[in-house]
């Protein structure tokens, strides 16, 4: 069974629209959702959470139709978004008690452990916390519930490297259990590249690329060619971008196979180097 299935979801706002978004996240996997600011990441995640109702399309989360069956679904979803806040005038302990009173499977030992590792003070008021502490506090309230699905909107944005590492660590701990899944958005492509099994690119409300991470990264290559005078590169399949620099050509392929390299060699160009691209480079190349 899939953790998330979105079929053709659309949502219109005066200045933005989400256009026929399709997403499938199988159980036991991590999906990284990447896009520029305002691309529709938050809107999509909120539709999945049942916090926003799509104008059209079907949303199914953990086998429940959203938002109609949101109660049943939300028992097992943990949601944290970067712009979400806890009660500013209350302490973390207040929120922990509140969550414990609602969720029977609240794990007190795990919560205590996280408080220690995240270096949080339960008696400190939320409004006195730094951005990083606030995010950690929100994540703690979700982790200690041990939900089947975690939906995180920009969980590592604005955090220092140590905090980011702690959070990625905690997210990966969840993956120990094969039935649990994570969907998270980020514009930190390093985080996405590190822990995602699936990668989805969204731009202007539309999904522009998706694949499992290994195939995604494997498909892209940058070839450095040295070419003779008056060389003309023929039209080739799988070429995303070509940059001419005198006797050098930088060729970016989005569907690389060794056959492409052979074809290029046959044209008389010399391949000096074949490099892989980082997710960040792929993201920029795709979005531009």
């Amino acid at each position: 069974m899939n953790a998330i299935e979105c079929t053709n979801i659309s949502k219109s706002y005066p200045h933005f629209q989400l256009n026929e978004v399709n997403l499938v996240l199988p159980r036991g996997q991590v999906m990284g959702f990447v896009g520029p600011n305002g691309a529709g990441k938050s809107t999509t995640l909120r539709v999945i959470m049942g916090l926003i109702q799509a104008d059209s399309g079907k949303v199914d989360v953990l086998g429940h139709a959203m938002p109609e069956e949101q109660i049943a679904a939300k028992w097992n979803i943990g949601f944290v978004s970067e712009d979400m806040r806890l009660h500013p005038g209350r302490t973390l302990a207040f929120h922990i008690n509140f969550m414990r009173s609602i969720f029977p499977n609240w794990d007190d030992a795990y919560a205590t452990d996280l408080i220690k590792r995240f270096e949080l003070l339960p008696q400190q008021k939320i409004k006195g916390l730094s951005h990083g502490q606030r995010v950690k506090a929100s994540l703690l309230l979700v982790f200690a519930r041990r939900p089947q699905l975690l939906v995180f909107d920009e969980p590592t944005t604005g955090l220092d490297p140590v905090a980011r590492k702690e959070i990625l660590h905690e997210m990966m701990q969840v993956m120990r259990d094969e039935s649990r899944s994570i969907l998270f958005s980020s514009h930190n492509t390093l985080d996405v590249e590190q822990i995602s099994d699936h990668i989805v690119f969204i731009k202007k409300g539309e999904i522009i690329a998706r694949n499992d991470k290994e195939s995604f990264l494997d498909g892209w290559r940058r070839l450095r060619l040295v070419v003779p005078d008056g060389y003309q590169l023929p039209n080739l399949q799988g070429v995303h971008e070509i940059q001419h620099l005198g006797h050098q050509i930088l060729l970016t392929s989005n569907n690389y196979t060794p056959a492409l390299a052979e074809k290029i060699k046959a044209t008389g160009a010399c391949i000096r180097d074949i490099e892989r691209l980082s997710l960040e480079e792929i993201f920029i190349a795709t979005v531009q």
């Binding site: 036991g28 996997q29 991590v30 590492k165 990625l168 660590h169 990966m172 701990q173 993956m175 120990r176 094969e178 390093l190 590190q194 822990i195 995602s196 099994d197 699936h198 499992d212 991470k213 290994e214 990264l217 000096r272 180097d273 490099e275 892989r276």
Partner: protein, 154 residues
């Protein structure tokens, strides 16, 4: 990682693994994000290194894909790919639903040989981009070996 966790698994398999009770205690790999090589290759290399150094002798149960992914904070799919390649190379064997072990019949020298071949290939690639011909490369290598043996003689 406690031995007791693995014991039932060993006992349930038809092959007698109890002979080799060596369990990889340390699955802390250091992976580099600035390294040009993809994650799955770095994982493969680390496993191969441990196997060739006999830290993980033949018959050792290697961490499950999920265990290693969690420990390394790397996606499951990446570790899965590394294991598939390692299996193809004959470094590990996987039994569906039971786990993976370092191949029993594995010739470590073979593995080291393969690693040497790979390093040479990389060296040749680098030399090619620098425009060095093979003779020049051999000369450089000789220079190096002389320097090292000279240092030993002192």
């Amino acid at each position: 990682m406690a031995l007791s966790i693995y014991l039932p698994i060993y006992l349930s398999t038809d092959r007698v693994y109890t002979v080799y009770t060596h369990i990889p205690m340390n699955i802390e790999f250091i992976l580099s994000q600035t390294d040009g090589r993809p994650m799955y290759q770095q994982i493969m290399e680390e496993v191969v290194r441990r196997v060739s150094l006999k830290d993980w002798p033949p018959g050792t149960r290697v961490p499950s894909i999920r265990e290693l992914a969690v420990a390394l904070k790397v996606s499951v799919i990446t570790v899965k790919r590394a294991y598939l390649e390692l299996e193809r190379m004959g470094v590990i064997v996987t039994q569906q639903g039971k786990g993976s072990w370092v191949s029993e019949g594995l010739q470590v020298t073979n593995l080291q040989h393969k690693e040497l071949q790979r390093q040479i290939e990389r060296l040749l690639q680098l030399a090619a981009t620098m425009g060095l011909c093979t003779d020049e490369l051999i000369y450089q290598i000789e220079q190096h070996t002389n320097k090292e043996s000279g240092a030993e003689n002192k």
